[in-house]
């Protein structure tokens, strides 16, 4: 936290900031980080663990190589987000909120990314795919697999409606949201 309080002694008030740091550095909060934070802030590891598991921004498990985030905000829901979530669950064979055993994909939902005009919206590795259709999902997944193999996207899963190449939008910070 870059502010006037940062100059004071590290304490519990810095906990969430420290957890953000660890999450960003490692993609999750490893056990060593929990211990280190607890020591630095002079609180117990249980305390750190209690706060960590309360907030969705932090996870104890590493994320997959590709992060698929599906918006399930109200606007996306009434436009059929549930169907998109199901289709991804089927295509990746993993329930929403989990990572595939090969650590290739993490499938997440977020409670609203504020891009309601494009709903239902899917964000894959930071790229927005608006007005997502169930039929194009296998292609989107295949594109990711090709990228993992170092090839150009081969599934042909480019969103048809995107007026320009869907550029990297503000990264949704890759975690299920709702806050």
């Amino acid at each position: 936290m870059e502010d006037t309080l940062a100059s004071t002694e590290p304490s519990r008030k810095d906990l969430i900031h420290a957890l953000h740091d660890a999450q960003e550095r490692h993609g999750h909060v490893p056990a060593e980080a929990i211990a280190a934070i607890a020591r630095r802030l002079r609180i117990t590891e249980t305390d750190v663990y209690g706060v960590l598991t309360f907030y969705k921004a932090f996870s104890l498990e590493p994320k997959g190589r590709h992060v698929v985030t599906i918006c399930s905000g109200t606007a996306c829901h009434v436009r059929g987000a549930a169907r998109i979530i199901e289709e991804f669950e089927r295509a990746l064979d993993v329930p929403a909120g989990r990572t595939t055993p090969d650590r290739e994909f993490t499938l997440e939902t977020v409670n609203c990314v504020g891009a309601c005009a494009l709903g239902p919206i899917v964000i894959i590795d930071g790229d927005y795919h608006g007005q997502a259709k169930a039929a194009e999902i296998p292609k989107l997944v295949e594109d990711c697999r090709c990228r993992s193999r170092g090839q150009a996207p081969c599934g042909g899963g480019k969103p048809e409606d995107a007026p320009v190449d869907a550029g990297p939008g503000p990264s949704p910070r890759r975690q299920p949201g709702g806050g």
């Binding site: 309360f54 309601c116 039929a135 503000p170």
Partner: protein, 626 residues
Amino acid sequence: MDLKDLEKLRQEIVAARDGKRPCITVCGGTGCHAYGCLKVAQAFRDEVRRQGLQDKVDVRQTGCHGFCERGPIVVLQPRGVFYQKIRLADVPEVVSKTVGGGEVIDRLLYADPATGEKIAREEDVPFYKKQHRLLLGSNGFIDPTSIDDYIALGGYRALAKALSGMSPDDVIAEATASGLRGRGGAGFPTGKKWAICRRSPGETKYVICNADEGDPGAYMDRSLLEGNPHSVIEGMIIGAYAIGARQGFVYVRNEYPLAVENVTAAVKDCRQRGLLGKSILGSGFDFDLSIFRGAGAFVSGEETSLMASIEGRRASPRQKPPFPALAGLWGKPTNINNVETWANVTWILRNGAKAYAAIGTQDSKGTKIFALVGKINNTGLVEVPMGMKLREIIFDIGGGIKGGKPFKAVQTGGPSGGCIPAGMLDLPIDYASLAQAGSMMGSGGMIVMDEDTCMVDVARYFLHFTQEESCGKCVPCRVGTRQMAGILARITRGQGEEGDLEKLETLAKTVKAGSLCGLGQTAPNPVLTTIRHFRHEYDAHIREKRCPALACKELLTFGIDQKKCIGCLLCLKACPVKAVSGTLKKPHDIDQAVCIKCGACFEVCPAKVRAVTKTSGAPAPEKVPQ
């Protein structure tokens, strides 16, 4: 920098700028980001350079213009020519024709869907015409990362006014006289809140900006923070001066990285210019701001939870009283207001309480920003005077329902609010009217629903949401929402029983009465309003095992009309579970025992054929023996 310096600085900035010089503004809001506006803006910069016009034309990435449906949006200033759905390929033509030659490109203009008439200027577009954009108006003109842009438009003049000629009590009196009420949803009078906090004993006091906009389907706070962060910061400094706080926090939702970035940059610029820190504008008043990133918990939008979160604890609410104005952050008197409220404060101090109170209704003053989303033609952010009728917002500004379908309901207030049916379209939008309808103002989400939206499913959706987001502290909320969500899920699966609605109503009472914070106290609202206004839909689910909107998956049956099917194999190939059988040019059939009701067959069946049927409460078409 002191007061005189600020005015001098403004004059310098304005003098250095040629007001007549063309500027290509590219909307940089989240909606347009998703459409790829960053690339469009870069393409404009490159193209301007390529055509050697860099000394004649500016390119500016601005805040959100609000008309997200039509992004990426490009407005050519100073003429206000409004281009929509700009593609990279359009960029060279826009630069050469419009900027170079002054010609308007017809193809890129917005066409009025009613008349087909092309509209050249932003303010003439029906979406903007009925709006009153006090707060969002500047978004389209300024680069949110440039404090100079904000100052050039009169920014920090309100702060200067407050610090130079007004006592803290004068500022509070002004806020009270304006009639401003909290925009976070509850609508507590802002001036009164400030006065209580000012009177609270104690040296150390805090102000907080609640930017933990968790309401799904609402993004006006995000748009303000991203698009015009200084208008929020200025309001906060004014409020802090009025209350006597020297430290403030902006608590931003973690899912809003661009808002975090822009407001952090704005705070830095303010410190550099002496607008934050010691003796602001030479007045002797010290104040500084910290940005606190939330961590993904809906309940942290509740004020006592939010403060717990800043203190580094789990975001659980606590008993009130004592209210934060007496004992808030670290037990000190704390004033917490929502983003939109703070931005309103700036407007009020700049233009006067009288001008503000002239807008709106008797009890609800000023404007309110709504996120108009869902099954609406013109998705976007709209800012309207309080008291405007729902009908005007949905049909005149929103352009009506997608595909011309009938309007069913609008959901306001998010998970705390309720659904307002078509019969109440003439309801004026203000705090009291919405509460009377069983809903609430909330932060301003307005989700439009048509005949394809199942109201029982909407209630299930919200209860599932609140159940997941309940912090677990109060048993009625933790267990009650879970039970309610379970009953609703059961009803949508066709396993509803007589007496379920009564059970839901009893649970609703308990959850409302037995919860400490707004999350639990309002969680049953979506259920109660849908039972009140759409009881027939619940009855259809429970008694007839039928979903009238054809939305609840478990109650659907997909079949193939053997007389219409041309045997094209499309549905057979699309089916993920191989439930469709058949051969080329022979009518296909769906094995109901295998079908998972995903609807893939229904989606791919050609519009001309329409052989795949989707029904609820009726058996699939008979298979004709071949």
